[in-house]
Symmetry: C2
Subunit: 199 residues, 2 copies
Amino acid sequence: MYEGVVQDLIDELGRLPGVGPKSAQRIAFHILQADPADVRRLAHTLAEVKARVRFCTVCGNVAEGEQCRVCRDPRRDPAVICVVEESKDVVAIERTREFRGKYHVLGGAISPIEGVGPDDLRIRELLTRLADGTVTELIIATDPNLEGEATATYLARMIKPMGLKVTRLASGLPVGGDLEYADEVTLGRAFEGRRLLDV
Amino acid sequence: MYEGVVQDLIDELGRLPGVGPKSAQRIAFHILQADPADVRRLAHTLAEVKARVRFCTVCGNVAEGEQCRVCRDPRRDPAVICVVEESKDVVAIERTREFRGKYHVLGGAISPIEGVGPDDLRIRELLTRLADGTVTELIIATDPNLEGEATATYLARMIKPMGLKVTRLASGLPVGGDLEYADEVTLGRAFEGRRLLDV
């Protein structure tokens, strides 16, 4: 519909996740009217990211060097590893400031429907990290959905016999939420996981 | 939250229209995992667009050369000009294949609230095009909202005394829509604009 390179840009933008044809067009027109310096910076950052960012050789998190920020930090407790699906999850957990151990990023979750099996995840790398006995607890923080639960169960069965403490993040009512809006599965989990109130 | 250049990319993406922090993060992670060739192509297209695309010196539409595709096309009727707010509107009208004249892109609409006055639009350029008497009809296709109507009225008042036929696109019920879902203003316009059925 548009002339050459404008249509190329709309097509390229439309391939990004969550960007439909209308948004692609809106972004393209924004770029046409934007300050050339801003657009140059965006193009440069795209190239830089691909050139400089790799994945941490220890935990699989995004990293600019060999190792990510958490793995490089000597103040982080090497005895506890939190297993997550994606680097995004590391960021979410870091935001809570609750966890002072290390991470392991699997790169997804087991999903027979999408054809993702245990061998497609960074599970072998996890086992290697557990081999020297430094780690005493593994917190499994995969998503609380079907794939995440399957992955958690798979990992727990494999790792518990090694004598490690294997835990899973609690499921329950979201803090600040309304009980009446909670779905039944969440509410059921909240009952199962109920705790004694010491008053 | 992220290391250096990843955060830079999220920030850059978040400046695009309609891209919130969550989408920016999702797109950034997509780019991290994408084929480097794809990302290079996107970065290249961004740079190309800024280098090659300009605005048509005649009508103000996006163009790769001096003039846009419509202005260059000798089969388009130079006696009829359709006035629109943005290049996006040209594309929408071209899609209908109903119009065979030329365009004039104003670059917006009169909006006192946003500080856009007649001098900020390409109205002087429009008057220049009307000067030699080639144009006999001006179809005003600004948006059917407050700003678009104000702009249409302003243009009609200025141009009608020049002896040109000045028309405005019809307002009414959207084809394929349900009458009961039409807002009252649209329904009112549909009554005002009712036509005799020749049966």
